[in-house]
Amino acid sequence: MKTIRIGNGQGFWGDSLEAPVELVRRGPLDYLTLDYLAEVTMSIMQKQRARDARSGYARDFVTMIERILPEIVERNIRVIANAGGVNPQACRDAVIEAARRKGLGGKLKVGIVAGDDIMHRLDDLIARGIELKNLDTGEPLSEVRSMVQSANVYLGGGQVATCLGQGAQIIIAGRVTDTGLALGPMIHEFKWARDDWDRLASGTIAGHTVECGAQTTGGNCLIDWETIPNMADIGYPIIEAREDGTFTITKHEGTGGRITVAGVKEQLVYEMGDPHEYITPDCIADFTSIHLEQEAKDRVRFSGIKGRPATDMYKVSISYSAGWKAVGSLVYGWPDALKKAQAADRVLRERLDRLGLRFDHVLTEFVGANACNGPMAGDPSPDLAEVAFRIGVRSSDKSVVERFTRELAPLVLNGPPTVTGFASGRPKAEEIIAYWPALIPKSEVAPEISVVEA
């Protein structure tokens, strides 16, 4: 049966720079997928493009791909990356320039999957009664329209497959779903029908399993974590996809990490909602139908996956400005570290009150005592070696947040004793870019797919 090998070398923008290179160099591979986009990423890229029309994409993708271009061309490995951000055309042009620098002009085709950016159409859509209601709160987008920074439709594996069909060796996508990056090659190679819901669901679940990179090969793995071998050289995941929809998750021989049924289960439940209904642009996948089997060391086989028809909506990722925040911390030492940190909190809050500063929210945590798990952590030991006093504020008024950032450091001289950890300077006031998930009818969106020779 026809089998293809799809490796994922990037779990988010900021993941290992070496992982994609290693995936290409350390063993057989047909496709390399790279996931660069998170909700916040699009708004950062939108701002970059506003300043410079040739930016607005993941620049480190271009630097990385230039390193491995000769091998990719020689071995005919195809690359699919949603590194295009809000400017896939500029990213494509940069990749073409890199190819020419490497003497590979005319030797590969570069494609784009775009049409996801609906920022410039928002007013028109709202005027025509498409409210883009927040999926969590039900509020219409008009509530925050003036604050919107970016708006992108999640396209899927279907569009990736179309672009592969036009001959692209490297695909630069805008907001394509993480799962679509891996599903696209399967639709293309196996000529799966666009209504073969079980197979589309299989490819989608394969994509979900590898979308967080090493989180399925032993990274962030709770079960038996101390015995996972050679984490420093952890292998990134590879899907061995078969025409019938079954697939095996594995990694290159000789790499570190571990792939077991138990470890894979951890990744399957990661960021899960209703397991019966994993909704993507391509299909609805049912996680309760998955059958897992350890077929050999570092090889887990998936079968039995069921799917249902896709909905007639695309999900939209909208970002908007939602005020300002700042977070800072100081460290208090033994003895009575927690008591000192608690006293510092009381003193600081009283000073903020006296200054007449009003915040939407003030949050204090005592790191080392109970910051992450709150009351579940139980009573902290009375003899802690040190405790970090961490305080954050939020306000729609930037000046109030900036004033707060000046009040923390003085505590070193005018607050409780045995205090340190202020060397990194005062906290920074940061703009909050919040996320507004919504739906849009598929009929309102026209994906733009094109391929050019480098």
Binding site: D136, V269, M272, T288
Partner: protein, 116 residues
Amino acid sequence: MKVKLLHLAHARSGDKGDTANVGLIAYKPEYYAVLVERVTAERVKEHFRGICFGDVERYELPNLGALNFLLHKSLDGGGTISLRTDAQGKTYSAALLRMEIEVDDALAREVMSSKA
């Protein structure tokens, strides 16, 4: 006898906006039925008091021997709005494993001897 979930299951957690999810995975198929019976949405809501301010939903995945919990309003607004150290609920997986449930004595002895 009471045992911590830590001895019966492992877990992973993540976020979607202000909702955290915790996937709880039985170490053995026979432990799954115990989890289904004992680790109810109500008990998880009670366990996460002071952290989770919304509803808790539970989904069953018998094929994986796993339960998935959605903890609404648990991340101080979630994402970039949250001021919390753990704005993505990454440590909630292990936090759930702190929960103690009642099991029969034979099972308690078995899990306490095999897993520390």
